[in-house]
Amino acid sequence: MDTLKLKLGPTIAAIALIILLLVGYVGWYHLWREVPTYYESPEEQFKYGSIGTENAEGIPYWIWLVLPRLFPEKLPGTGGYTSLGLTWEEGKETPVGIVKKTIGFPRQGTNCAVCHNATYRQTPKDKPTILLGGPANKFDAQGYLQFLFACANDPRFTADYILPAITYNHQFSWLEQQIYRYLLIPQTKKALLQQQQSYAWMNFRPNWGPGRLDLFNSVKFRTLDLPIDNTIGNSDLMPLWNQKQHQDFSLYWDGLETSLKAAIHQGAIGDGATQKSIPLNDLQRLEDYIQQLNPPKYPFAIDQTLAQQGSKIFDNNCASCHAFGGARTGKVIPVEEVGTDRHRLDVWTQGAGDASSQFDLQRTDGYVSVSLDGLWLRAPYLHNGSVPYLTDLLELPENRAKVFYRGYDVYDQNKVGFVAQGDEAKQVGFKYDTGVTANSHQGHLYGTELSADEKQALIEYLKTL
């Protein structure tokens, strides 16, 4: 008997150990196993590679996929995620800027490209042309977040409602079913509701609309956990291309940063990456990519003779602040001088600067005079996107459009910018009212006194940038 006991003890222990290891392995496999998203081409990496957001803020892919089908009434139109301005390339599984990465289970995340790919169409019947690095003019980031939050708040956000929609498209194993039913679906709901809390400050501010973010309030209230204040930082997305020509430029609209590397890290963290998950090597590849990425050429006809005339007008009126090599290009111009809406500048308070030791972002007193490469695709204009066309920008503020629509990507070759008025723009677009706080289209009066002919020539030249 004793010898039996002696043998039984270790046997039981061994079996228990094996079971434990097995359970551990299965658990690791289904919850933590990380499969890197590496693309040979830097362009593919930019569009679909992970920047480390999935560990903390990744939504289980299958849940993300079926939400628009289960809650279509919470979207602005038909088309699933495309109605929020996400753009699929032909043949690709996820939209540009949406990552699918397996960490235990496939998760959906976002990367730089979600906000930094622009599209345009020549006519409404065309398919979109995607231009990487451009400001995502039709992506409604706030609408996207609000859609996810609305889903999470819906009492139907349960396994009973969600699982059948998933298994319609994808066969789950028994174990996966249980993991989704008892872990991932309830956890996703909880996480989205928590995330909604961290964005509650949005509810008391004007809507961003497509192509804009309140990036630095997000940094203040979400990343740095600073007390809520009354500032409004709604501002346009910026292009990322051609960084090789932007050495030593001040970055962001108000020039808070001068290091591109730091700005990229801030972007990844703002997007949901953590100090642990941030993939430094992949971000280095992105940095190299946007250094070399050329701004897209204007795709329509240009009157070269007229542009030639405009070139001289540009040299006399704009170049010192806006041409590469200009004395003030890439530097902060005091807000009193440029006269544009000051809300974005005031977002970064002294307190924020003090608290952001990890970022070292120091408050400035104005807005950066940006270079104008790829300008044609960067409409609407000014930091808050308050002027729909270049032609409007060369008019006095009282003659600029007071109300227009953003997010419609059909191009207006006469006014230079996206079609922002008329029925079609109204139907898909976001109503931008320049009377709303932080949306003012005042300031930047340069060139408004040119003659009509001069303006026309200047605009023709600006198309060539």
Binding site: E73, G79, W88, H170
Partner: protein
């Protein structure tokens, strides 16, 4: 006898009673449950023709209608049918068969009816009204009014007679040999659930109220796709995307078509993906029977188009041959430089409804279908869909049997297609299967035959325009006649 014997005896008796009771219950239970467990699985036929006509492609699991309900519908709702029985929708009934062509019956717990490829890709042909209809597999269905069938299923689902009380007596009268448990399942599960599923399906097809009638031989491929696969809200679909009603295509000789721009607007160049996409009208990504579909695919790869069965004036055809070669071949003959490629809408000039009904947002969502599903080691996720700007010029093999012509079936015969649009028939009848050997197409001036009404096609309705494709309209009358004679031989 000791005093202890009595209880022991009782104990034994008690045990035996229990055994008896449990045994009986088990026997009855097995007897009742047995029919649900036996012969489950998709219906298979060894003969490929039978498989095409009656084999399952996986629809029963997804949205199969319980067999006895399906059988009872035309009896209970006879007043909602255009004529007697399912054949009044133009479905083809072979003698001695239980179901019409294009329907399969498989047992999953109980027998269910679903549809397969042959619903839309089989037709009939008669030389004269008195001839026996000849069944032509893989031709575009010329008789089936799928729209009317869908509408019928939507209508009956909200009819109060769709209830166990109303339907069970009919089912039993039709000879259903259901045991007590099966009856219960029918009464309390199958009938109410089928009704709910059909109501849901009806709501996804509600856009049909805003469309021209399909009539026989046509369907709107991509709108139902948007509402059924992606749940796009029906009421938010924009009107200019709702005119995509298109003719069924022939499906013979697929091999030489590999790599061509398939579908009327040429939106996909992969045969497999095109097939899976078409199957999604009847199955889901997880219930699709790849094996069954690939059997059909393999059969179709080299299946020749049927030869013209009536006399051909060879002399005249010989005159037509060079005309075809100089006027049509570059776009329409296998090997032609433009065949299987999209011609821009501005150039082809045909009705743009079908082109506009396929949108970039549909394409975007399609890219996610069949994610993570593979067949024979090949990832099945859709990645070949493209948004085009026109219509594909198709090879004309067996063109004689593919009337009416153009993508929306707006021109009844080949001879009419060679006339300028204003000289083509403005209205005509579809669904009649008697062949017009002179004009090449189906006779189109017959509004009814017996108790069957044919469908009046109005080219002035949205999506039905008969304009465009004006190639050959300037030929002389003699040249046109010769060209049409030659085209019978394709």
């Amino acid at each position: 006898m000791s005093t202890q014997d009595k209880p022991r005896l009782l104990q034994t008796l008690g045990k035996r009673i229990w055994v008896f009771v449990i045994g009986t219950v088990l026997t009855v239970a097995i007897f009742l449950v047995w029919p649900f467990l036996w012969h489950n699985g998709p219906v298979r036929y060894t003969d490929i023709g039978e498989h095409f006509k009656y084999g399952s492609i996986g629809g029963e699991k997804a949205n199969g209608i319980p067999y006895w309900i399906w059988k009872a519908l035309p009896v209970v709702f006879a007043d909602k049918l255009p004529g007697p029985g399912y054949t009044s929708f133009g479905f083809i009934q072979e003698p001695g068969k239980d179901l019409p062509i294009g329907f399969s019956k498989s047992k999953i717990g109980f027998e269910r009816v679903a549809q397969n490829c042959a619903t839309c890709h089989a037709g009939t042909l008669r030389e004269t009204p008195n001839s026996q209809p000849q069944i032509m597999l893989t031709m575009p269905s010329n008789t089936v009014n799928l729209g009317a069938y869908i509408q019928f299923l939507s209508d009956i689902a909200i009819d109060k007679r769709f209830s166990a009380t109303e339907m069970m007596p009919h089912i039993e009268a039709m000879g259903a040999k259901l045991n007590w448990l099966e009856k219960l399942v029918y009464r309390y599960v199958a009938i109410p659930q089928t009704r709910d599923a059909l109501i849901l399906q009806g709501s996804k097809f509600a856009f049909m109220d805003r469309q021209s009638d399909y009539g026989p031989g046509r369907v709107d491929t991509f709108t139902g796709y948007q509402t059924r696969q992606f749940n796009f809200p029906v009421d938010k679909l924009s009107q200019d995307e709702l005119n995509g009603i298109a003719d069924f295509p022939s499906i013979w000789q697929q091999g030489p078509r590999e790599g061509m721009q398939l579908h009327w607007d040429g939106n996909n160049s992969s045969i497999d993906e095109r097939n899976n996409s078409a199957a999604l009208a009847l199955v889901t990504p997880t219930t699709i029977d790849f094996e069954a579909i690939h059997r059909v695919k393999d059969w179709l790869l080299n299946l020749p188009a049927p030869s013209y069965p009536y006399p051909i004036n060879e002399e005249l055809a010989a005159v037509g041959k060079p005309i075809f070669e100089s006027t049509c071949a570059s776009c329409h003959l296998f090997g032609g430089s433009g065949v299987g490629k999209v011609v821009p809408i501005e150039e082809i000039g045909t009705d743009r409804g079908r082109l506009d009904s396929y949108t970039y947002k549909t394409l975007s969502n399609q890219n996610t279908l069949f994610t993570g599903i593979s067949y024979r080691g090949v990832d099945q996720r859709f990645n070949h869909f493209r948004k085009t700007n026109g219509y594909a010029s198709i090879p004309l093999d067996g063109i004689w049997l593919r009337a009416p012509y153009l993508h929306n079936g707006s021109v009844p015969t080949l001879r009419d297609l060679l006339e300028a649009p204003d000289k083509r028939p403005q209205t005509f009848y579809r669904g009649f299967d008697v062949f017009d050997q002179k004009k090449v197409g189906f006779v189109y001036d017959v509004p009814s035959e017996g108790n069957r009404q044919y469908f009046k096609f109005d080219t002035n309705l949205p999506g039905n325009g008969n304009g465009g494709h004006i190639y050959g309209v300037d030929l002389s009358a003699e040249e046109k006649e010769a060209l049409v004679e030659y085209m019978k031989k394709l």
